[in-house]
C-alpha cells in the first residue's frame, strides 16, 4: 500500500502494526462509548435471561426458568398476540398507503413539494405532542373525531382509547398516520429511479397507466417494497413511545404490546431475569422475521 509511509516508518513500528494502530485510533473514540454503553449491556442482557436477579442481591443461575415463567403468564402471551396483530395490520396498511401516496405524488402535478411535506411532517413531529393531540381528538363524547362520525350519521361512535375494544385500533391509526409519509419518500425515490424512457416506450406501445404500473413499475419496486416491509416490521415490533404516551398500555392491558410488557417487567416489577428473557424473545422474533424476509427476497430475485 502506501510506499512512502513504509519508508518513513522504517526505524519505527512494522508497517502492518502501524496501519493497524492508525485504523484503531480512528475507531477508538466511538468504540469506547459503544462498547461500554451499548455492547456490554446487550451482552449482559443475554446473561441475565438465565439468571434470577432483582438488581441488588446476589445473582443466581436458574436456566430457562425465566422463559418458562413468562410463557406461563397470560399477560405475556396476550401481549405477544397483540404485538403480532399490531404489526400485521400496521405493516400492511402503511405499505399500501405509502405506495399509493408515492404513485399519486410521482405524477406531474403542481405543489408537489407542499403535498409531500404535509404528508411527511407527522414523521418528524414529536411523539409526545402527537400523542396528546390524538388523545384529545379521540375523546369519547367531545372529541372532534367522534363529532365528525356523528355528523356522518354514526349514531354510536366507538369509545376509542377509553375502551379496551377500540384502544388498539386507535393507536394503530395514529401509528399509520405518523409513519406513512416516511415510507412514501422511500417509494418516491424508487419510482424516480424508473427511467422516463421506459414509461414513454410503454405508452407508445399503448399501455395504460395502470398496465404500466402493474407490468413495468411494480416489478421494479420489489426491492423498495422489501425494504419498506422489513423496516416497518422491525419498527412496529418494537414500537413503544407512541403507545406509551397515548395509553400507557391501557385501558386494562388492551394496548400493552410486548415492548410495553417488557417495560413493565423492568421498571415496575424490577425482575431482571424475566425482562431480559422477554426482550430476547422480542429480538428473536424480529431476527427471525428479518431473516425470513431476506431469504424470500433472495429467492424471488433469482
Amino acid at each position: 500500500m502506501p510506499v512512502n509511509a513504509a519508508a518513513k516508518t522504517k526505524k519505527r513500528l512494522p508497517l502492518g502494526m502501524r496501519n493497524s494502530l492508525i485504523g484503531i485510533s480512528f475507531i477508538l473514540p466511538n468504540f469506547i462509548g459503544f462498547f461500554i454503553f451499548i455492547l456490554i449491556p446487550v451482552c449482559f442482557s443475554f446473561v441475565l435471561s438465565v439468571m434470577k436477579w432483582d438488581g441488588f442481591n446476589e445473582m443466581t443461575f436458574i436456566g430457562l426458568d425465566n422463559f418458562r415463567a413468562i410463557f406461563g403468564q397470560s399477560a405475556f402471551r396476550n401481549s405477544l398476540a397483540r404485538t403480532l396483530t399490531f404489526t400485521a395490520v400496521t405493516v400492511a396498511i402503511t405499505t399500501f398507503a405509502a405506495l399509493g401516496l408515492a404513485v399519486l405524488l410521482n405524477k406531474k402535478i403542481l405543489f408537489k413539494g407542499i403535498f409531500r411535506s404535509s404528508i411527511f411532517f407527522p414523521y418528524i413531529a414529536s411523539m409526545v405532542s402527537i400523542a396528546v393531540v390524538w388523545r384529545l381528538m379521540f375523546m369519547r363524547n367531545f372529541g372532534p373525531i367522534n363529532e365528525f362520525l356523528r355528523f356522518m350519521g354514526v349514531s354510536d361512535p366507538p369509545g376509542w382509547i377509553a375502551t379496551t375494544q377500540w384502544a388498539l385500533p386507535a393507536v394503530m391509526i395514529v401509528y399509520i398516520w405518523k409513519f406513512m409519509g416516511y415510507y412514501m419518500i422511500v417509494y418516491l425515490a424508487a419510482l424516480q429511479d424508473i427511467p422516463v424512457e421506459l414509461r414513454e416506450a410503454a405508452s407508445i406501445d399503448g399501455a395504460s397507466g395502470f398496465q404500466f404500473f402493474w407490468r413495468v413499475a411494480a416489478p421494479m419496486l420489489k426491492h423498495a417494497t422489501f425494504f419498506v416491509v422489513m423496516m416497518l416490521m422491525i419498527n412496529s415490533f418494537k414500537s413503544f413511545d407512541l403507545i406509551f404516551a397515548m395509553t400507557e398500555g391501557g385501558p386494562g392491558q388492551s394496548t400493552t404490546l410486548l415492548s410495553l410488557y417488557i417495560y413493565n417487567r423492568a421498571f415496575i416489577a424490577f425482575d431482571y431475569g424475566q425482562t431480559s428473557a422477554a426482550a430476547l424473545i422480542l429480538f428473536a422474533i424480529i431476527a427471525a422475521a428479518t431473516i425470513l424476509q431476506l431469504r424470500v427476497e433472495r429467492k424471488m430475485s433469482l
Binding site: 502506501p2 512512502n4 493497524s20 492508525i22 485504523g23 485510533s25 480512528f26 475507531i27 473514540p29 466511538n30 454503553f37 451499548i38 455492547l39 456490554i40 449491556p41 446487550v42 449482559f44 442482557s45 441475565l48 438488581g55 399519486l104 405524477k107 402535478i109 403535498f115 404528508i119 411532517f121 407527522p122 418528524i124 414529536s126 411523539m127 409526545v128 405532542s129 396528546v132 393531540v133 390524538w134 384529545l136 375523546m139 367531545f142 363529532e147 398516520w177 409519509g181 416516511y182 418516491l188 424508487a190 397507466g209 426491492h223 423498495a224 425494504f227 419498506v228 422491525i234 418494537k238 415492548s259 417488557i262 431482571y272 431480559s276 426482550a279 430476547l280 422480542l282 424480529i286 431476527a287
Partner: protein, 276 residues
C-alpha cells in the same frame, strides 16, 4: 377524448391529494387552534377552527406554570451535544472502518451492525443498571453517553465513505498526507451532505426523545420539553390549552430544521433506504 379522460384523472389525483394532505395536517391544525382557546372552549361542538378571541395568553402562561424555559434550554443543550458527539466520533470511526485495513476490523464492524437490529428494550434495563452503578442516572452526561454511540451513525457515514474511490486517497498519500490529514482535508469536506443528514436526524431524534428522558431524568432541572408537555396532563385535570401551546412550541424548531433541510431529509431517507 383522451384529453378529457386525462383531465378527469388529473382532477381525481388533485382531489385525493388535497384530501390526504388535509387529513394528515388536521390534527396539527387542531392542536394550533386548541392552543389558542380556554380549556372550556377546546371541545365545543361544532368545532371552531378559528377561535373567537384567541388566547395568546396560553403561550405566556406555560412559561410560569412549569419551568418551560429550563426544559427548552435542556432540550437544546442535549440535542446539540449528542449530535456533535455522535457526528464527530461516528465519522471518525467510519473512516477507520471504510478506508483503513487492520485485523479484527470486520468483526468489530459486525458487532456495530448487529446492534442496529437489536431493539432498545433488550438492553435498556442492563444499561439503566450500569448507569445507576456509575452514578449517571438523572444526569445529562449519562444521557449523552447513552445516546451518542449508537451504531446507525457509523453505519450511515461508512456507506458514504466507501463510495469515495481509493485512488483519491492513494494520490493524497503519495503527496505525503497522513491518514489523519486525509480524513480532515479530504474526507470530511467531501462528506458534508451525509454529515448534514446524520446531524438532522440526530437532532430531531433527541429533540423528540421521550423514553430516554422519562427513564433517566427525575429532577425538574434536568427535564426536557417532551416531559414538560406531559406535565400538563394531570391525573384529574388536564390543561388542554396550555398543553397544546407547549406542543406547538415544541414543533417549531423541528419545523424550521425540516423546512431548511428538506432536501437532505429526503435524500437521507432515500439513500439509507436503498443501500441496505
Amino acid at each position: 377524448m383522451i384529453e378529457k379522460k386525462n383531465r378527469a384523472l388529473k382532477s381525481a389525483v388533485y382531489i385525493s391529494l388535497i384530501a390526504l394532505a388535509v387529513i394528515t395536517l388536521l390534527p396539527l391544525i387542531w392542536m394550533l387552534s386548541a392552543s389558542l382557546k380556554l380549556d372550556k372552549d377546546v371541545f365545543t361542538i361544532p368545532i371552531r377552527w378559528i377561535p373567537a378571541n384567541p388566547r395568546w395568553d396560553n403561550y405566556v402562561r406555560i412559561w410560569d406554570k412549569v419551568p418551560f424555559l429550563q426544559f427548552t434550554s435542556n432540550s437544546f443543550k442535549l440535542s446539540l451535544t449528542v449530535t456533535a458527539v455522535q457526528v464527530l466520533t461516528s465519522s471518525f470511526a467510519a473512516y477507520g472502518f471504510a478506508k483503513c485495513r487492520f485485523r479484527g476490523r470486520d468483526v468489530l464492524f459486525f458487532a456495530y451492525v448487529s446492534t442496529i437490529a437489536i431493539p432498545w428494550q433488550v438492553y435498556m434495563l442492563p444499561q439503566y443498571t450500569m448507569m445507576r452503578m456509575m452514578g449517571l442516572l438523572d444526569s445529562h452526561t449519562g444521557y449523552v453517553f447513552m445516546q451518542s454511540f449508537i451504531a446507525f451513525g457509523v453505519f450511515l457515514i461508512r456507506q458514504f465513505y466507501r463510495s469515495i474511490p481509493d485512488e483519491l486517497l492513494e494520490a493524497a498519500r503519495i503527496d505525503g498526507l497522513s491518514e489523519y490529514g486525509i480524513y480532515f482535508r479530504i474526507m470530511l469536506p467531501l462528506s458534508k451532505p451525509v454529515i448534514a443528514t446524520l446531524s438532522i436526524f440526530s437532532f430531531v431524534n433527541i429533540w423528540n426523545d421521550f423514553m430516554g428522558p422519562m427513564l433517566y431524568f427525575d429532577s425538574m432541572g434536568k427535564r426536557t420539553i417532551p416531559l414538560g408537555i406531559r406535565m400538563f396532563l394531570g391525573q384529574y385535570s388536564t390543561e388542554y390549552g396550555l398543553m397544546m401551546a407547549a406542543s406547538v412550541l415544541s414543533l417549531i424548531p423541528v419545523l424550521i430544521v425540516f423546512l431548511m433541510f428538506q432536501r437532505l431529509f429526503v435524500q437521507g431517507i432515500a439513500t439509507s433506504g436503498m443501500k441496505n
